[in-house]
Symmetry: C2
Subunit: 293 residues, 2 copies
């Protein structure tokens, strides 16, 4: 599939750029630097940078021009995983088949590595070239709101508060809108804004983004039940073990699969105003609900 080749090529660009940004960051402490690099270069789908670039492509701009902003989004995503894995949070030993950051560097250094990646993300995104300062301010505000108490961190807190509790579908949706949805939305909207999207295009991509996030999350919940541990890189059944409410536990496996497919259809439908320049986004969302990790 053509779109997988683009994904692969751009992931390689992202990884090369991440290494470059880390080397330029010149941290005062060597172990801090290693710890940041350990998690940042531990693989992953590089979905958020891929989405920044694909959204810019969709509105007729050149996606790779916004690699810098994409890398900043990946740093925010990585910091959130490091903190989420901490003993005081989910207390996970493995992530993507590798030891989690704190299992290698200790919880103190892992906390600082997360803090450093979040802060560096802002420094990096403010270096995005080829856009006016007005646009840059708009994009960085969009991303900070998505990552903050009203978005990603808020979702994490709500998730933590909901463990071992019977929660409603409404609360679970809010958790996911915050934990994963907000950053996907910001990635896609940032790419569109950087690429000078019209208001109509931005609105369409926002609908796509929200349904992309929904499809992604439901699939995650499904994979936790039926996935292959050796492929996912972390134990399956962890949601049940941790008494977490998911789309599967609150509905059923079949219903969750149907909800995921509905979200994919809605996402693809939202792209009808675009031509072939949005094909990557169409294929990506359809692929993600069929993924096995």
């Amino acid at each position: 599939m053509e779109f997988k080749k683009i994904w692969q090529e751009r992931s390689a660009l992202v990884e090369a750029q991440l290494v470059k940004e880390l080397n330029e960051a010149n941290p005062l402490d060597k172990t801090l630097c290693e710890s940041m690099k350990y998690s940042l270069m531990a693989g992953g789908k590089r979905l958020r940078p891929i989405l920044v670039m694909a959204a810019a492509d969709a509105v007729g701009a050149k996606g790779t021009d916004y690699l810098t902003t994409g890398c900043a989004m990946e740093m925010i995503h990585t910091y959130s995983l490091i903190h989420d894995d901490l003993p005081a949070m989910d207390d996970d030993d493995y992530r993507r088949g590798k030891l989690t950051n704190h299992k290698v560097y200790g919880a103190g250094m892992a906390t600082l590595a997360g803090d450093a990646l979040l802060t560096l993300a802002f420094e990096v995104m403010l270096r995005q070239q080829g856009v006016s300062s007005d646009t840059l301010v708009r994009v960085v505000r969009e991303i900070s709101t998505a990552a903050g108490p009203d978005g990603m961190v808020g979702g994490q807190a709500l998730d933590m508060e909901s463990e071992d509790k019977q929660i409603s579908m409404e609360t679970m949706k809010n958790i996911h809108l915050g934990k994963t949805g907000a950053l996907f939305r910001a990635a896609i909207r940032s790419g569109a804004i950087l690429g000078s999207a019209s208001e109509e295009a931005l609105a369409a991509l926002t609908v796509y983004a929200d349904n992309f996030g929904l499809a992604f999350q439901i699939t995650d919940d499904i994979l936790d039940v039926i996935g292959d541990e050796s492929v996912i890189g972390k134990p399956v059944g962890s949601d049940e073990k941790n008494h977490k409410s998911t789309y599967v536990t609150l509905t059923s496996l079949e219903e969750a699969q149907k909800l995921a497919q509905d979200a994919v259809d809605t996402a693809i439908d939202a792209l009808k105003i675009f031509g072939g320049e949005a094909d990557f986004l169409r294929e990506l969302v359809a692929y993600l609900v069929k993924r096995n990790k």
Copy 2:
């Protein structure tokens, strides 16, 4: 003293604005909101916002116009204290005479409260009114660099790595330049840049800032030895207990006092190009080495 009245009045402005920003942040999770508020409103000297405003005053602008940026700096400072106190870091039970954040909300929520305050700080500073987007981008970059791996977080990591080790004066200076110096510098430079400082004025204020940070840190080290526990709000002698190298342990009490006074003199001397509009900064640095908490 006139300058103490200004300090008091402006601290009240800062506190009112912080409450406003928190209320507008609308976090997804109620406990997260309470936890952020608990530490943000736990008192403190509000030095960083005060410095933003005083630097703007010194270059002939109106300091209170930059309250927003000052509040963002206070959020960054507060997040760093919350994370620094965590069990995986310094494991402190008290801060400013009150239980530390994690003693009240647990280490997981305290980690998230810190994350949320850091992210909200960027959202807030990007809302600073009355400046061009070009200037805003410059200021936010300055602050992100100061708070990141090359600045504050780097200093924290270096500090953690140096515990229970014999370190050189050079390493200790790097720790403090990062941990406290970088943010003081960014506060003062941000205020100056927001207030349209000339290059000469900015350079002079940078010299002031670096010596301000030095004088502040040495005084902190001195107070840890000779301070009054009930006034400081945390146990004295904690540096010795934690085997931390300080200006006092690496030189002597007398030598540290002399170094602090030298830094004050250099800071005040750097302000000679300014008139009465820099009096607040002159009095502040002289006062800080005589403080008892």
